[in-house]
Symmetry: D2
Subunit: 306 residues, 4 copies
């Protein structure tokens, strides 16, 4: 794995046929679809991957199948965020055994911990992990964020190799860029795709953007244009990203709307099933129709796998 | 199990010797200590029990040992709250196999769900559970609460038998009391012990109070005095509860301070180890000394198990 | 004014005919209606009184008229909460000139201050006030609460004479009761009427309850029953309070629903106009009808002023 | 006033000698200092201007003096945000009389209103205003934001001419850019200076950046570089902005730290007094020393007015 890891690393959805059953054929199509788009890696079992909603047996199966299907073409990153220390370690071990390249960790998210507790937690956990670690900042869901002093401190540990910031807080991201001077190999990625161009201009290395599940090339090209400083092309591609954000991600209500929208698009494109693990459920008729119109507008439906 | 379940049901701490090792001897002493206090049940794997921080292997062991040690003297309730549907079902099955009496469920707590999603989640989950279910309202940690309309709807399902409210919102609790007319067998319990007397006066059936781990008799007597309408005695015992709340629960900072205080007290009383699962850790010297002074003031230290 | 002030002190709505025009006749009827109910005081320009939404000219007129109409029958308390120090002092001076008895202050509510800043603010403000001061704890609207250490410190200032707690946090209230031993003359009142009985059982002195605008006797009787320890009568009256809370206060949506419901009820009872200062507006037809049904159910409509 | 208004419009601090006394000489120096820096306008009585903390007499004096001192060299925008409709109108009238160019309005910030209420509020208020209006989005302080549907609706009113977004939410800002096609004359400005370059790249028109009080040229040059697409120069200047943000704005704690830091810098530069209106107070010795070191590092102290 290059360090820093540069480009688009889609937070892969988990194709399901039921609450404890992978859509195996869909998973294969999805991985091909994404890798064809020119991405720099695959991140499984994150928020978009419904990681916390999946049983451990299925998580293990997903890790193994994904690593096998990726065939080393791109690095595989696996989310190990958990409220239970020992389960995080277990998932990390399965990941190493399956050939994954790194693991990704947001703070334990039930009872909120203070920063000193979070730092001590990292001190205890990292030595137990067989793979290098990315921090995953997601305060809206974990209550606690990796404060920048905690990130700075984590940089002193060579087993921690990067940060994915999904806070949506651009000031935080700019400050995180300012820390890069302490670790030239550190990877800094942005979560919300609406901020991908901003993040790359600011000095970040790329994005973990949900839309890259169904339209990977768009995000890869936007990344490259931003990296090249081609402001005109950036504006054009960014407008498409905003179009998706303004429409597809607002079809549903509630916090799960983005994941539902992405899975629905993938289903309409013939890539994989859109079953959602509880407590969520797929879009029904009227929402599905809206997504179809949107995909037609994006000229994506002719790419449809037959 | 009586219905409604009336009295004090302590949310039992989990005695640990390490992050994946039960303090087996401590567990036995703790269960005896609590049952001796006259409680109406035991609730394991809740927030105070550090449920979400424990690995599943250890959860299973705890369920089995607790049911065996309780020997049917009081009903055992087991927390099955999880972000993953299938893991909740697994824990519920282990509970039934071990002889537990009921399971307890807060909303999935990673990505917040809307109330219709929460209702559908209950509709899907309850038929999979081999034991009756208590709802557990804990919005400060789960983000989402069981809105009262959702509680009302749940009352139509005879497999759902009660509500433990830890919201700290007395208006919510009074409204929940107002729903009892729809289900005479429904159990309504309060979480925060500072509100135990209020809850019983209001028409609730008792409390799930953390302090009952180390001082069960105090809470049991307060419950009985409130039930009997003995306002003078209530005031006297409530003052002791507030003394514990004002002191023991404020020794630490951060949200885990209450659990740390209770475990430290139990350790000083010789009942069990005070090891905490990550990301938390036990009180060190200075805090421990404060807890010791407090226990001395409560005349609890002479009860100390040798 | 007695100290502590004991009983029901309604947070009086402000009868308006337009955004800058008092309903003068309605104000007179309202004051008579409330005082007839046996209340212990009048609190104007609080949250229910739409204080922050009213221009200063109108606030001054309201203070003068209310003091004149109250004719010393009950003490008048005036809200001086403001983001601007000098305006709080101005309103306090008008209050003293008009013959009011005390002023009431929540923390400045634009940019949130830390507790040391809040303490220093009180240190600077209280010497400028010509009347004794009640603290008003309302964190959901002011962002900042009077932490209990700040309340304890305020008790050392004899010009600060009490606390009205509208936090809805019963643990906070119980802790505030615990501070009363430091100031036997200190008044402790509860805001949410659903918690009035709890507050009096706990050792509080009464309530500042919005429903006492249109049905003052109900709250006065509930207060007296709680004070007398008549648990049976408390339960009966409390059920009526909950009925109002469950119905009238849920006719509207948004945070202003309670005030709209109270004003609508007063309008239907013929007491005063229900005009609301911007950014809010009165209930329209369908909501008004619901309120009418509710008042009929409470047998209040026959009391209607012709 | 150009439309859209393009460039840097500093949110001017209010130089004070006491809680109700302007630092008149300091105000004159400050206005010259800022205008010398090449700004596109002055915005007074915003958050940085401590608008809500100032009495109305002083607000009027500030408006009049500022307009007189600006001498038409740049447009003057005046904050009229208030919880009371009639006071907002009053301040707007004083502004028009004094020769100001526009007024600026955040949502009323005591009791949070729903979006339909906010829309109706604008419908009622705008016809009463003698000057065109900018919306000011500041949800962390006003609780309520101008949802984008409300912004879109406001664009249909030609008297509403722009939006200043201080949400810190870059997704919101990108969506607001997407609305510009509906009103070519609409001005869109960003609040947080850390996001100034991002905002201009995105298609915004400039910034309302607090640091432009003491170092206006830096922000003006950053704006111009971003507008010109000079990515190298942007990176260099943005790094200076981040240096100020990372240091000066973190000298204090609490939400007022930024304003205190800016006022302290201005005092050290000899521009104006750093008195803060209650409930805040100026930095004392140790913090002041830190600010001095920072200014020395920025080579600003030699510019010091003697």
């Amino acid at each position: 794995m290059k360090s820093p890891l540069t480009g688009i690393v889609p937070p892969m959805v988990t194709p399901l046929r039921g609450r404890d059953e992978l859509d195996v054929a869909g998973l294969e199509r999805l991985i091909e679809h994404i890798i064809d788009g020119g991405v720099a890696g695959l991140f499984i079992l994150g928020t978009t991957g419904e990681g916390p909603s999946l049983g451990y047996r299925l998580r293990k199966e997903l890790i193994e199948r994904t690593c096998r299907l990726a065939r080393g073409r791109v690095p595989v990153l696996v989310g190990i965020t958990d409220t239970a220390f020992v389960e995080s370690v277990n998932v990390a071990r399965w990941s190493a055994d399956a050939g994954a390249d790194a693991v990704v960790l947001a703070p334990p998210y039930y009872l909120p911990e203070g920063q000193p507790e979070l730092q001590e937690y990292l001190d205890h956990l990292v030595p137990e992990l067989p793979l290098p670690l990315f921090l995953y900042n997601m305060p809206s869901l974990t209550k606690v964020q990796y404060e920048l002093d905690t990130v700075r401190r984590a940089m002193d540990n060579p087993r921690i190799i990067g940060l994915k910031d999904s806070s949506g807080n651009m000031i935080y991201f700019h400050r995180a860029v300012g820390l890069l001077k302490h670790r030239p190999d550190w990877t800094l990625l942005i979560g919300p795709e609406e901020m991908l161009a901003d993040a790359v201009f600011a000095g970040g290395h790329g994005g973990v953007n949900g839309g890259a599940n169904f339209h990977p090339r768009l995000y890869v090209e936007l990344f490259r244009a931003a990296q090249a400083g081609d402001n005109v092309r950036v504006r054009e591609l960014h407008a498409q990203v905003m179009h998706i954000s303004d429409n597809l991600y607002r079809v549903g209500r509630h916090s799960s709307a983005i994941i539902k929208g992405i899975k629905c698009a993938l289903s309409l494109l013939g890539v994989c099933d859109d079953f959602m693990a509880e407590p969520f459920h797929r879009f029904r008729g009227p929402e599905r129709e809206k997504v179809q119109h949107l995909l037609a507008g994006l000229n994506l439906l002719h790419n449809r796998t037959p």
